[in-house]
């Protein structure tokens, strides 16, 4: 029997954070479909050890995440493992939207729209984290392919309502989430929607 220790809905555009104890599992459920879920994680005992997109893709020789992928620190240490995935493709390259990068991608008129970098900053501040702690992040349910000539872009997602990705903590980890508020590209189908977060505790061996 597993025990559910947390079951919350994160509203559209909102941040979220929690600490997963080692071996606990976090399910991220895409309720509305095509919702990008920006995600960072840190070793809870030493937040200087944090997710590294570069170390993660280099170790698995692939830019996409799916079942079996291990999210690693900059030192190569496992933080979480993807143990189940009904979507099948998640992004490691695009990083978070920010008010600043929106100004480049879409124009200065987007400068004051909601953005993931601000979500990460405000939620991270609750844990003593600042701007220096924000690095290239995972985007669950976001589809960022690279063409043969290097062209890279956020395209329509492969997700749908009810799809789920489940992560197992390999050590105690702090999880920082921005339920992406982006409305200028297809990462959310131009329509940010809520996601559900479920943390479960597996049965301990006697």
């Amino acid at each position: 029997m597993t025990t559910t220790v947390l079951d919350v809905e994160v509203p559209a555009r909102a941040p979220f954070s929690t600490v997963l104890r080692r071996s606990q599992e976090l399910s991220i459920i895409d309720l509305g479909g095509n919702q990008a879920v920006d995600f960072l994680c840190y070793d809870a005992a030493d937040t200087a050890k944090r997710y590294s997109a570069a170390a993660t893709v280099a170790a698995q020789h692939n830019i996409f995440l799916t079942t079996g992928s291990v999210l690693r620190t900059g030192e190569g240490t496992p933080l979480v493992t993807v143990v189940a995935d009904t979507c099948g493709r998640h992004d490691t390259l695009g990083g978070a939207c920010s008010k600043e990068s929106n100004s480049l991608r879409y124009g200065q008129h987007t400068r004051f729209q909601h953005a993931c970098a601000d979500n990460f900053l405000i939620e991270g501040s609750k844990w003593g984290l600042g701007k220096r702690d924000l690095v290239s992040n995972v985007n669950w349910y976001m589809n960022v392919p690279v063409e043969a000539d290097g062209t890279l872009g956020i395209v329509d997602g492969l997700s749908a309502p009810g799809l789920e990705v489940r992560l197992r903590a390999e050590t105690d980890v702090l999880v920082l989430v921005s339920n992406c508020p982006q409305i200028n590209n297809p990462c959310n189908g131009f329509d940010p929607t809520p996601v559900r977060m479920v943390v479960t505790e597996p049965e301990r061996a006697a």
Binding site: F64, G76, L93, G95, S98, S101, R105, Q108
Partner: protein, 276 residues
């Protein structure tokens, strides 16, 4: 009695070593180094050859041209950039590839900060073998691959070299984001798989134009996807000289609409700051 048994002898022995020249060392002042054709030797500000497994760092002025050269064909220049005026602004690899719609580094690519400004621009490239996705190597990775990853060991990893270079600029491990690497290529296949494509050969070079005052960190260490059994990395030549920043009439300024907005943001910042 040996010649170094007294303080006088030891002092003479030490001083007699001055002027020794080796292949991998800085030239100080840089104006004493050979200048590239067309460059006034008096404009040189940095001339150094970094050994394989070595690192270096420098604060460079806006308008500097920084040339990296893979002397023997096995260099791998891992690079990080910070705004020297406020190092909380730093290279953002995700924005660099996402905003400009391209995963590969090459001529006219702007190296973007997390504040939507241009830290440096790639203005020349005879290599075409670079990587913005895999970052640098870790102690654990090099220990597993080569038996050692320590900075002073036979096969230094990139992370501890960056950590040392960062520390000497008042920055800590939390300040190190994913890095870029030049001279060892990686390509992405249709399934997202990463393919190591190696170097372009001896003599390839990349020129960066520095757009803001920057802290430059460089680690010359084997690429994490390098499949060769032996730790293989050869000397990296670093040369910088006073030149000019990118201006609205430069092709890089209008290379993409996104780059143009980034250059405009940079100019806006510099104007307010009294730097341009």
């Amino acid at each position: 009695m040996s010649t170094t048994a007294t303080t006088y002898g030891a002092r003479d022995h030490a001083r007699a070593q001055a002027g020794t020249v080796v292949d991998t060392m800085p030239t100080i002042p840089a104006t004493g180094a050979p200048a590239p054709p067309g460059v006034d030797p008096a404009a040189l500000t940095w001339a150094e050859t970094v050994a394989g497994g070595g690192y270096t760092h420098k604060v460079l002025a806006r308008g500097t041209r920084l040339r990296l050269t893979d002397l023997e064909g096995d260099a791998c220049a891992h690079l990080l950039l910070f705004n020297a005026e406020g190092p909380w602004e730093r290279l953002n690899v995700a924005d660099t590839v996402k905003v400009q719609w391209n995963a590969y580094l090459g001529e006219s690519v702007a190296l973007l900060s997390d504040q939507a400004r241009v830290l440096a621009t790639v203005v020349a490239d005879t290599s075409g073998r670079h990587d913005a996705l895999c970052g640098t190597s870790t102690v654990d990775h090099n220990t597993e691959r080569y038996g050692d990853g320590a900075p002073e060991g036979p096969s230094p990893a990139g992370m501890p070299l960056f950590t040392l270079a960062a520390a000497k600029n008042g920055l800590g491990p939390r300040d190190l984001p994913p890095s870029l690497s030049f001279f060892q290529g990686v390509r992405v296949d249709a399934e997202g798989g990463l393919e190591f494509t190696g170097a372009a050969g001896a003599g390839a070079s990349v020129d960066l134009r520095i757009e803001l005052p920057v802290v430059v960190l460089l680690a010359n260490t084997a690429h994490p996807l390098d499949p060769r059994e032996d730790y293989t990395v050869s000397p990296l030549r670093v040369l910088a000289w006073r030149d000019r920043p990118t201006t609205p009439d430069s092709p890089e300024w209008t290379h993409t609409p996104e780059a143009q907005r980034a250059f405009e943001n940079t100019a806006d910042y510099l104007t307010a700051r009294g730097l341009a």
